[in-house]
Amino acid sequence: MTERSKTVFSRIVAAVAGRGLVSLLRTRTIVALIGLLLAFVAGIEVARPGTVNALWVSNMMLFAAPLGIVAAGQTLVMLTGGIDLSVASVATASAYVMATHSGLGGAPAVLYGLGVGFAVGLINGIGIALLRVQPLVMTLGTGLMTEGMLVVYSQKMMANAPRVPQFIEELGAGKFLGGIPNDLVLWAPIAIVIIFVLRRTGYGRLLYAVGDNSQACTLAGIRVWRILVVNYVTCSLLAAVAGLVIVGGTDAADLSLADVYLLPSVAAVIIGGTSIFGGRGGYSGTIIGALILTVLNSILILVDAPEPVRQILYGAIILLLATAYTRLTD
């Protein structure tokens, strides 16, 4: 059934777009993604002329940055064939812990927040790499632990109300030079470093190798566990950083702050062309994926539908995009 429907599907696509375009999309998926992003932007401009201007673009960047940073960690983890379901809890916990320690001053507060990410990432890494727990189960477990600990912590910290420091607010919501969002200044270096590490360094190659065939890596003398531990710590740290950006944007640390980021963080990676089975993909696709999801969100806000309907549309479009992508590239 799938074979037949696949050929039917490809035939339709071919009839519409011509063979050359399909093969172009297959080999250069990033082009397709950018095309899709531009189509979305054009769609907005057609529906509401005058929406797309410098301010809008800078707002999109501002909103996309935290998603892009969470999805960066998720990309690294998925490249090795794993998944991290604890990113949302880690981001929330990092933001909350940072906010309750803001009395200590900026740097220590941020360190406390990042410390949460480091700790959870280390537990994830050790459990997955050394104790061989499936990533899904391990990160599910640590996600539940983090959430539970955070609730207990928030009740213990009643007297010490969370307060978001000024510079975090600036980071998450501010702009400079007439429109460059501050969080882009954080996101861009992260993106450059990750793309560089994945493409140009031995560690990056090892990540792809482990995702492709971790057994072969072990046989080749690679200490796979080290790579995995570093990878999961990096992922959680990135989630913690994203948590700080998110709380800067909302200016209120609550216990479900980053919950909404779990699905988009996975979806951005999948739409961006990284295989969940590992070994294939990269961060540049994820960046476009994060931008597509952010623009999609802004389209849905323009649609002026009630929140639940927006949620349904958002999920349905993600499904369609991921399906089209998986079927085109398979």
Binding site: G141, E147, L263
Partner: protein, 343 residues
């Protein structure tokens, strides 16, 4: 994936247990084959014993609240088990439960008992239909199960919010009593009867059927199952239907035990149900485990926060313990497997 060859499936040729082997050998064999069948009751009895120890006044009322608390979680675990055994995973269960919950509560508010039963049947059909949609999405889109159901769960969650924006609605008292009352003696909560009856009526015939065997075959080795003539796509699709059906029962259970519909109540059950599945000895790799383990694990996971309250510890540690328990049990399973393979 190509179309599997037509023909009689050969997975049916499973030898029946020889009846002339000594009882002790058979016992040892089944212990090895289904460790959770012995381990889970032990864990459940132990946690019940701890509960009675920390709370000596344990009464029929406590038993009822335990059964009512565990009912939705047990169905969430059952729903997840059906999919996990066939090698998939369903992260939309909580949202499907929410849809069933609000659908029941919003339509039954002014219904008579008879009407509410009919409506309950309709809700079950809707649940199975949503499960079928999940299955179609997974099979046709070829997106990995985790991502596909995470996303479709987002959609079902939106639908639950469309049906009922805020917690509300209700159901006739007789209907609520199906899950909240007791039968014959106060020590036999209806919730327990309902749970056992549903699992027995749906799962046992399924497991003994060809389809049930195909679930296990596809879950344990997709390629081997395919070569044995099992239609992989159809089997996975069917597993999602059963997941949707069990989730719908869970949603009805939620209506019975809480008395209202709450569009966001289901969220908790996706992850906790998965936790119960893992704790209940069902391998997430697929093909191994049964329904008894996860259902009992649901009771154990429900007992933990209760015990913490009795011990005057913050019940929110329950979630921490739950997370720890999932990881610990999987690790123990890993060690047991390693020890066995070294032998």
């Amino acid at each position: 994936m190509t179309k599997p060859a037509k023909g009689k499936s050969s997975v049916m040729a499973v030898p029946a247990a020889a009846s002339n082997t000594p009882l002790t050998t058979r016992f040892r064999r089944s212990l090895r084959r289904y460790p959770s069948l012995f381990f889970m009751p032990a864990l459940l009895i132990a946690s019940l014993a701890i509960t009675v120890a920390v709370h000596p006044q344990f009464s029929d009322f406590d038993l009822q609240s335990l059964a009512m608390g565990a009912l939705p979680l047990a169905f969430a675990a059952a729903a997840q088990t059906a999919v996990v055994i066939s090698g998939g995973i369903d992260l939309s269960i909580g949202s499907v439960m929410a849809v069933a919950n609000v659908l029941a509560a919003s339509t039954m508010e002014k219904a008579s008992f008879g009407e509410s039963l009919l409506l309950a049947a309709a809700v079950l059909i809707v649940g199975a239909a949503i499960g079928a949609l999940n299955g179609l999405i997974v099979v046709l889109s070829r997106i990995p199960d985790v991502v596909a159901t995470l996303t479709s769960g987002f959609i079902w969650g939106g639908i639950a919010l469309v049906i009922l924006e805020k917690p509300g609605g209700g159901a006739p008292q007789e209907f609520l009593n199906l899950g909240a009352g007791t039968l014959f003696t106060p020590w036999l909560p209806n919730a327990l009867v309902l749970l056992v009856a549903t699992v027995v009526v749906i799962w046992i015939p399924l497991r003994r059927s060809k389809l049930g065997l195909q679930f296990y075959a596809v879950g344990s080795d997709r390629i081997a199952a395919f070569r044995s003539g099992v239609n992989i796509d159809r089997t996975r699709f069917a597993a999602y239907i059963f997941s949707g059906l069990f989730s719908a029962v869970g949603g009805l259970g939620l209506t019975m035990t809480t008395g209202i519909g709450a569009p966001l109540a289901g969220v908790y059950y996706t992850l906790s149900g998965l936790a119960a599945v893992v704790v209940g000895g069902v391998s997430l790799a697929g093909g191994r485990g049964g329904m008894v383990g996860p259902v009992m694990a649901a009771f154990v996971l429900t007992l933990i926060p209760t015990d913490l309250i009795f011990l005057n510890i913050d019940p929110n540690f329950g979630q921490v313990i739950q997370g720890t328990l999932i990881v610990a049990i999987v690790m123990i399973g890993g060690f047991v497997d390693m020890a066995r393979s070294r032998k």
